[in-house]
């Protein structure tokens, strides 16, 4: 690149020597600032004579940059694209709006329907899912990023603060108290926690349904589970006592201390709960539900074949025109299936390369 360092030396005197003229501001009484000399200090900085590097963006200097960007971006893009394409993803919409769907009967389910409406959807995987499979649930048209919703939580309460447990933040209104007892966890987010239960079975032959082990740990951020979310201080083995004096969120069937049987996944540190509490950026989103770990190196995590998904349909979405999905996906180093990044890299790389060529022509012709 054509750049040069030049220590500027200005031989020509600037119109100095005026510094002696005091009292520039004229008739200000006492001549404010009259005493101090206006002549700048004779430092390199004040005189703006620091050594400087003066690059210019010319076709000549930018050309190589364009080619380099092109040459780097295109392979990266291809790499990402290929990786993304190798990812297996399978998605089932189980909302049940379609009358033929097995879940159609549950469409107008309400919160407190007991026993839960259950439905089963069978599906076939044509290709095996070789590596670990991640099971997501997806919601559409669900505005988890609505402002009223986003702020309707009390982080101190969730962090185990006992005073917040009993006096939740005002932000939680109208999900702050119920029957004069503070709600734990308070707020709209907690109140609307996703409560469908999804179970996966492999169908071998006619009747044999083998349940697939779904790992419910490791779905939340480590820091969330271990630092940000904490059960109230006290004897963690007796959560019931800890949450004494609070009540369950209105829509929940069970209180927070009965979310899970395992004590390290119960209360505020229940991972499903933590996952739900991380509000999604967009109205169509997915959240990690379970992990299907590969048992050994020889077998794929999910082999090709028939499967059935059993759903305890509790979560009403029809009232706001929402959709529910279950997604099975493998993951690469760059996450799930997303062709955008690869295509974008390839496009930008090609554009840069093309522009480089155009600039080269212009540079030589003009």
């Amino acid at each position: 690149m054509a750049m040069n360092y030049n220590a500027k030396e200005e031989a020509d005197g600037h119109p100095g020597g005026v510094g002696a003229v005091a009292g520039g501001s004229g008739v200000a009484p006492g001549g404010v600032g009259a005493g101090k000399s206006r002549k700048p200090d004779n430092t390199a900085f004040k005189q703006q004579r620091l050594p400087a590097w003066q690059p210019i963006l010319t076709a000549g200097t930018v050309l190589p940059a364009f080619f380099i960007i092109g040459l780097i971006f295109i392979p990266i893009g291809i790499g990402i694209f290929v990786t993304s394409n190798n990812i297996r993803e399978y998605e089932i919409d189980y909302t049940g709006t379609d009358s033929a769907s097995p879940c159609n009967k549950c469409l107008n389910v309400s919160w407190n329907s007991t026993p839960p409406c259950t439905c089963t959807i069978n599906f076939t995987l044509d290709h095996p899912f070789e590596s670990n499979v991640f099971m997501y649930y997806g919601l559409s048209n669900f505005y988890q990023n609505h402002r009223r919703y986003v702020k309707s939580r009390d982080d101190s309460q969730l962090n185990g603060d006992n005073s917040s447990l009993h006096y939740p933040s005002k932000e939680c209104e109208p999900y702050r108290t119920s029957e004069d007892k503070p709600i734990a966890p308070c707020g709209a987010i907690a109140n609307s926690m996703f409560n469908d239960t999804l179970e996966l079975y492999r169908i071998d032959g006619e009747e044999t349904r083998t349940p697939i082990h779904l790992n419910k740990k490791g779905i939340a951020w480590w820091t969330d589970k271990n630092v940000k979310f904490r059960n109230p201080t006290g004897d963690t083995n007796n959560l019931t006592a800890l949450f004494h004096g609070t009540t369950k969120p209105i829509n929940w069937p069970k209180p927070v201390y009965m979310l899970d049987s395992e004590p390290d996944n119960n209360g505020f540190i229940n991972e499903d709960f933590i996952v739900w509490m991380r509000t999604a950026a967009l109205p169509t989103f997915r959240k990690l539900y379970r992990l299907i770990e590969k048992k050994d190196n020889l077998q794929p995590a999910l082999a090709a074949g028939n499967y059935s998904l059993e759903i305890a349909y509790n979560y009403p979405v029809h009232s706001f025109d929402g959709r529910k999905r279950m997604i099975l996906s493998t993951i690469s180093w760059m996450g799930g299936k997303n062709p955008f990044l690869g295509i974008a890299y390839i496009t930008v790389g090609s554009i840069c390369f093309f522009l480089g060529v155009v600039l080269l022509i212009i540079h030589h012709k003009y």
């Binding site: 200005e10 003229v21 004229g26 009484p29 940000k228 509000t279």
Partner: protein
């Protein structure tokens, strides 16, 4: 401030009287005197600290602020409040500090003790307790506490010496005269018996004008009336010198003193950049309001279905549900306003303020730092000739008496010989009557002036050794006169002094002649000094008159007019300044009638000047012409070079002069304003009489049209004479535009022409430069006023926006500093708008995906700190340091100035380009992140990111893009730039790590906890950030490169050329080093 004006008007209504009457020492006049209108005067307190604090023009933000307190805001009050708070604090601190300094100075002033006379005794009081009418005693080296009428002095002749250095900067001592009838009162008791009233005009800011009269009552007689002029007035702020003590009566006190009035009267000038800035601001305000309106409307459309408004998972509270629809709509609108208010770059004002504050003033004395960038926009330069273009270092060249030319033998080996023998008589020796005339001429020149003699040899400055060994120094406000007196001294006549109205001169025979000075008139019409003097000489009364040819010739009745006129014209062509001298004899009878008229006119309180002028007109008739003088005023060093450069820079230079066309033209040729091929357009009264003005101009425009292809800019120049009869008001801007360089003989003040051009259709930016008091009006009128600290006092410098010592400094000031300042400030303005669009537009887009619920995309801390710390320093540094072309090149190649002319960098298309770039970048950030996050996971462990990670990603890309964009625009990278640019990016990262790294105990939300770290742990986020930054910067880089390659501006060409050159040079330098090391 307005408050002051209003109070002024109110006060005015209360007691609006043309004049004020003051009882000296508070003694009532004898009954029977005129009815007295009681008036209230302010006390002698000076308050220069501003009364009220006028906040920033951002009322809007305060409204937004207020809203955020009332309504439920999307951002916490701290978030939106902090930047504003910061703005107000910074300005308040700056103003408060300046105010505090002023207040302190005021207090010191108001408390300082003053000596009063009370009941014949001397009393010490604080200055602020002084009242109008009090008699005050001032000792040597003390400052006058208020405006005083000079009653008596310890000097027997009733004079005192005063320096007004702190008022107008003139360090020379001025003589003031006590009132004739009171100068005998020398001590406290005497002065207490004085019984007098003073009538004078209401206070006005002109330092050099004062009209009043004093009535002195002696027992029961009719009062003696005496005129009072500015020579009797001692101004606050001036200092008493060389006089033991004086007595005076206070007439103007406190804020009514001329000094205080002057301080207030100075108006603020605003620069074109500031104006554009405000226009853009209004545009952005409209964008903001329309954005808020659109979003509010869409919100209600979207909410029309109940399941969108209140889905079961997100219910409203009871009180929210009950609220009136219109009220909620309005609060929603306000909430959107608060959310988007960052698009208005409040911090820009702070940055501009800080930039002005920190701007490195190089050399020129800056009075108004708000106009720095205006220096890069000048289209018209109005320059005074004498003292500005020329040295104002006059040298007496020759004189012509009765047609005979005398040249004092001047230069010999560069030294001036004071030799009276060295007179070259060009013509043959004059005869007897000629001899008499010759002596009269010399005497006239010797007497007819306002020169003062300083017998103080330890004064520095010009020192003149008197032939007889006595050291004396001539001082005058006009160097012309000094030159003449010195010239005459070389011809044998020496002016010695003025004592008790007797003037003493030393004639050729070394005999001291004394004459009584009856009266002394000085008029300053037509910018040519016109002094008249009555003098008895050998029992006769003479009127000597010295002035410009144009004012003398019409009044002359006798003398060798033709010969002298020819000589005057010849000298004028050579560029010499000519003056004519005439005289007139009076009989004592004639003189006494003149005396009476004069006295009448002088006592008038109203129209005094007009009446005086009438009397002068009567007296100065039928003069006898004696001769003429020629004085040379050399051009200032590099004046020609400067004018040439300005001309190349596309600036139209107008020289405003009072000289004849020939003199002016000669100077203009000398300073390259006119050239050989210049077609001079003459617009003189004479020419216009022959041909109507319209025709002349019509011809001119025809010529211009004919030459339109081949017209070079210096083909046309004009000499325009504007006299009283033709104010030039019917000139249009096109006609002015034709004349690229002009010389203008201005009969009135300079102001009309400057105003005329300033207000012409294109509103060009004007610059006026001058050195004398007569240029002040022009300096104040023009957009930028520059004063030259010259020999004609400091008034011009005091009233100017910038003061420079020499005309040649104008070149660097405009071409280098003006250019730099303009480039810097315009980039600053555009960049601020750009970066705020980038900042807020994603926020706007996000509303479409969050149900128009005013959800913020970024975290509170980011919202607050974006403008305060993440992106503020690089642009501030840029606005202080940037040198897109080196200063040397700018100076060498004036045509580069054209690239920034006419506000080029702040024109609409540039502004729109920046705004669109901002919108484009914002779209890239937002949708880039959108597609990256859309319904998929971006981590390798399958976990999902939430909305805060989304916002953080957008924000990270935003901060990087915006900073790198500035980095791409920076042409001048010093280590400080590197430090600040990379430093602020690093700061952003460190801040984010810290902000997300801890559960902050004092916050009630932990939404950012580990968000940034989690984002960095994801590969696609990195790739996405890199991609988005590249895409956002790409169009701008491409545009720059293509424009530079295909349609380069002059500046860009120079940059490229210079770069190649310096590379070559360094190679050559290296080669030569190598060879030299080889040879040794």
């Amino acid at each position: 401030c307005n408050c002051w004006l209003i109070s002024c008007i109110c006060a005015g209504e209360e007691n609006w009287v043309d004049s004020r009457t003051i009882y000296v020492g508070h003694r009532e006049p004898p009954p029977g005197a005129e009815a007295y209108i009681p008036q209230r005067y302010p006390d002698n307190r000076i308050v220069s600290s501003k009364v009220g604090y006028c906040p920033h023009p951002h009322l809007f933000h305060q409204v937004a602020q207020l809203c955020s307190l009332i309504i439920d805001t999307p951002t916490s009050p701290i978030t939106s409040g902090l930047p504003l708070f910061f703005v107000i604090t910074v300005t308040a601190i700056k103003q408060g500090y300046e105010d505090w300094l002023r207040h302190k100075a005021d207090n010191a002033m108001n408390r300082c003790p003053v000596h009063f006379i009370q009941h014949g005794k001397l009393v010490r009081k604080q200055s602020r307790k002084l009242r109008v009418g009090d008699i005050v005693m001032v000792k040597e080296d003390e400052t006058f506490p208020c405006d005083l009428i000079f009653l008596s002095s310890s000097r027997t002749d009733g004079t005192c010496f005063v320096t007004t250095a702190s008022l107008d900067g003139e360090s020379s001592q001025k003589t003031h005269h006590a009132v004739q009838d009171t100068k005998a009162f020398h001590n406290e008791q005497d002065i207490d018996t004085l019984h007098a009233t003073i009538e004078c005009e209401q206070p006005q800011p002109d330092l050099y004008k004062f009209v009043g009269r004093i009535n002195v009552y002696h027992d029961r007689n009719e009062p003696v009336v005496r005129p009072l002029g500015s020579e009797n007035l001692l101004l606050r702020g001036a200092t008493l010198k060389n006089t033991e003590k004086i007595f005076g009566v206070a007439i103007y006190t406190g804020m009514e003193t001329k000094m205080a009035l002057n301080y207030q009267a100075k108006s603020q000038k605003r620069s074109a950049v500031e104006k554009s800035m405000n226009v853009y601001l209004i545009v952005y305000l409209c964008i903001l309001i329309s954005k808020a309106l659109i979003n509010t409307a869409l919100k209600y459309v979207w909410q029309s279905e109940l399941f969108s408004d209140q889905p079961w998972y997100n219910q409203k509270t009871e009180s929210e549900r009950k609220r009136n629809v219109f009220i909620t709509a309005f609060t929603d609108f306000l909430a959107f306003m608060v959310l988007f208010n960052y698009i208005i770059p409040v911090s820009m004002y702070v940055t501009v303020e800080m930039q002005k504050f920190l701007e490195i003033g190089e050399g020129p004395l800056v009075n108004t730092s708000y106009l720095n960038e205006e220096l890069g926009q000048v289209e018209y330069v109005f320059t005074d000739k004498t003292g500005t273009l020329t040295e104002n270092n006059m040298e007496f060249i020759e004189c012509c008496i009765e047609g005979h030319v005398y040249i004092p033998h001047v230069i010999c080996n560069g030294q001036i010989l004071h030799d009276c023998a060295g007179i070259d008589m060009i013509d043959s020796s004059p005869g007897g009557s000629g001899k008499e005339r010759e002596e009269l001429f010399f005497r006239a020149l010797c007497l007819c002036h306002t020169v003062q003699v300083k017998e103080d040899d330890n004064l520095d400055g010009l020192k003149k050794a008197h032939p007889s060994g006595r050291s004396c120094l001539y001082i005058s406000s006009s160097p012309d006169e000094v030159a003449l007196v010195e010239g005459i001294q070389r011809l044998g006549y020496t002016y010695l002094r003025l004592k008790d109205n007797f003037m003493e001169i030393l004639n050729r025979e070394n005999v001291i002649e004394r004459g009584f000075l009856f009266d002394f008139l000085q008029t300053n019409i037509f910018k040519s000094h016109f002094n008249i003097l009555y003098f008895t000489f050998l029992g006769e009364i003479f009127l000597f008159c010295k002035g410009a040819d144009s004012s003398i010739f019409p009044r002359v009745a006798e003398g060798k007019i033709d010969q002298i006129r020819a000589r005057v014209e010849r000298n004028a062509v050579e560029g010499l300044r000519t003056l004519c001298v005439a005289y007139k004899k009076f009989t004592s009878k004639e003189y006494s009638s003149v005396q009476k008229h004069l006295q009448d006119a002088r006592l008038a309180l109203q129209d005094r000047e007009k009446k005086l002028a009438e009397v002068y007109e009567q007296v100065e008739r039928e003069l006898i012409l004696l001769g003429a003088t020629a004085v040379e005023d050399r051009l200032q060093e590099k004046a020609a070079d400067t004018i040439e450069s300005l001309q190349k820079a596309g600036i139209k230079v107008w020289v405003l002069t009072g000289d004849k066309m020939e003199t002016a033209a000669a100077t203009c040729y000398a300073c390259k304003l006119f050239r050989r091929n210049t077609q001079i357009l003459e617009l003189t009264t004479k020419k216009i009489e022959e041909q109507s003005l319209h025709d002349v101009l019509f011809d001119l425009s025809k010529t211009v049209l004919r030459h339109s292809g081949s017209l070079t800019r210096d083909t046309f120049s004009g000499y325009v004479e504007i006299s009283d009869s033709d104010p030039g008001s019917n000139w249009t801007s096109e006609q002015w535009n034709v004349v690229y360089l002009g010389v203008c003989r201005v009969a009135l003040a300079d102001r009309p022409i400057v105003k005329l051009i300033k207000l012409s259709k294109e509103h060009p930016i004007t610059l006026a430069i001058g050195d004398g008091a007569n240029d002040v009006s022009m300096i104040l009128e023009a957009h930028v006023g520059i004063g030259i600290i010259g020999k004609e006092g400091r008034q011009a410098a005091r009233n100017s926006d910038y003061a420079i010592p020499k005309f040649k400094h104008l070149k660097k000031m405009l071409l280098v500093h003006g250019h730099f300042y303009y480039v810097r400030i315009s980039e600053l303005v555009q960049y601020f708008f750009y970066k705020n669009v980038c900042f807020i537009f994603p926020q706007f887009l996000y509303q479409f995906f969050c149900g128009f619920s005013q959800q913020t995309l970024y975290d509170t801390a980011y919202l607050t700190l974006y403008n305060i710390s993440f992106t503020s320093l690089p642009i501030l540094l840029y606005s202080l340091m940037e040198q897109h072309v080196s200063a040397d090149i700018l100076k060498r190649d004036p045509s580069l100035y054209r690239d920034v002319a006419k506000n080029a960098l702040l024109r609409w298309h540039v502004f729109i380009y920046w705004t669109f770039l901002g919108v484009f970048d914002a779209v890239v950030f937002f949708f880039g992140a959108y597609f990256l996050f859309d319904n998929t996971t971006v981590t390798s462990n399958g976990q999902m990111f939430g909305n805060w990670t989304f916002g953080t990603l957008v924000f990270t890309v935003l901060v990087f893009t915006v900073t790198l964009k500035l980095a791409l625009d920076t042409r001048y990278w010093t280590w400080i730039n590197h430090f600040v640019i990379w430093g602020s990016l690093l700061f952003y990262i460190l801040f984010s790590l810290l902000w997300g790294g801890i559960i902050w105990p004092f916050l009630n939300y932990q939404k950012m906890y580990y968000v940034f770290m989690q984002m960095l742990s994801s590969g696609p986020a990195w790739l996405g950030i890199i991609l988005l930054i590249t895409v956002s910067l790409l169009p701008d880089v491409l545009k720059k490169v293509l424009c530079r390659q295909l349609w380069p501006t002059e500046t860009e060409r120079t940059q490229t050329k210079h770069q190649c050159l310096s590379v070559e040079q360094s190679t050559i330098f290296m080669l030569s080093q190598t060879s030299s090391s080889l040879s040794f």
